[in-house]
Subunit: 161 residues, 4 copies
């Protein structure tokens, strides 16, 4: 059984057609698991629905505590890409002996052209096979949390030199 914590981010942004702006509503994760015909046992819980640029230290503490306290030892966290590494650090400080994979998307799933479905399949697979530790999994790659940074010019994640 894998625990999946939803925190928002581009992954789950949707389009509010009354206001003509991006917004958060319900998470798309259950729909994505259906679309992927996932046979993995996953228990989904939404912790918050925020843009990761708006995430506070208190929010990170909530995420880390949930990872530490849940019974599952294999965890996926969906998260905005901008501060994914900061949250991974907070989790690493709080969680031992569990495999935690933080993932997200560059394009909202609600857009047809999202990388979210690819990343979700990838993150669930890394969560089943990687040894205990905290990882950032984006675009087919998994990095240990303290060996990666987001390149804000290209939008992609790259190993720390």
């Amino acid at each position: 059984m894998i625990r999946l914590f939803v925190t928002g981010g581009t992954f789950d942004k949707t389009y509010d057609e009354i206001r003509g702006a991006l917004a958060f509503e319900e998470t798309h994760v259950p729909e994505m698991l259906r679309l992927g015909r996932s046979q993995v046992e996953v228990s989904v819980r939404t912790l918050m629905m925020v843009d990761s640029l708006d995430m506070t230290d208190a929010d990170r503490e909530v995420i880390a505590r949930n990872c530490a306290q849940c019974v599952e030892s294999r965890i996926v966290v969906t998260h905005g890409t901008d501060t994914m590494v900061e949250t991974a650090r907070a989790i690493a400080n709080a969680v031992k002996d569990k495999t935690v994979v933080v993932t997200g998307a560059m394009i909202p799933y609600a857009f047809g052209s999202s990388d979210g479905l690819f990343n979700l399949g990838s993150a669930l697979s890394f969560a089943q096979t990687l040894p205990p530790g905290v990882y950032v999994a984006m675009n087919g790659q998994a990095f240990e949390w303290d060996k990666v940074r987001k390149n804000h010019d290209t939008g992609s994640f790259e190993p720390l030199a």
Copy 2:
């Protein structure tokens, strides 16, 4: 570097609008890797484009030989689901000391509602992390090739009792 061999299957079926029927044209794998913004180094080669029900022993030999002879030690094979296990067996007989992940889809990628993108992200991740062996990876799960069968009533893969 991961080697990806394309063999056809539902994964790559498309709709021929002149004939009004399913058909094979070019593989969608490179487009899917772009959509997933994959950062994994992948070398794609199309070996054949066939429905797996039409695949012959000679076809399986071609696939197994390519897996054995390529320089890469981590390999993904896209394949029709109906005879995926038979091909995995042929590969297992020919290949030692490599991680080979056979994957596919229940719905063509060309249909909006495909599980193919999810499975491709999953298969590339399993190929990076699983120890040497031949695996069938479908819908978020990876099975050793000799411990799985396709349930033809439900369409899903399940462990051998």
Copy 3:
């Protein structure tokens, strides 16, 4: 109020993932009207779900009689493209003083890349504005039924010389 009769055709083909083949299930028309946020009052009725190559004279009689007998004077018929013109002729023989627009698609709506949504918006608009008569509306154009043919090489409809 517009009456919309569903008869099948490529427009409504779907992918049967157990059999790995094209199939007909329920019509997608109500979902397409929701997606288009259609505000047109439309009453949908499925008459049959067949490939138009399999349509018989008896089937055409059913369609023509329904067009003649319904209370609405503005009608859209979804239909396979291969014998669209034959059915339009049967309707023209049976129906006077109504605007009947026969439409379809080259690609199933269930495929992300369908022309069906474009054609549905077009057909509903032609049905509101064209004078009584029987028309074939495909790909943005409306033709009087006796002045059009399908070019089976290109798949598109063109005026009779």
Copy 4:
């Protein structure tokens, strides 16, 4: 031949994955016409790419003058929904003896779930069949420009009482 003027609006909003925000890039109209397999002769010209809430009187003058001066007598204008009616009024003041259809979308085409493709098929059809005048065409309906308003609570267009 139909002239199609692009002005931006939700219809053409896209997602800027570096900034994580909605943005305007190139228009999607040519791609949408290809997807709809449109056989209508359409000449597309982008006049501006703006949110209609940011549209100025000077912008409206540019649109109206282009409608008046082009050689085509049948015109479609893509536009944001919030001030669609104001622009239709400006066009009506400047253009006589032409059929001008202003259309848009509630959801960006770049989102899989857009009403834009449906509206584009509809607007091109109304432009071919309606008598001279300026119309707002949304969600399957066409309104004379001075007999419609946008309901900002529901997001839909409705006849003036």
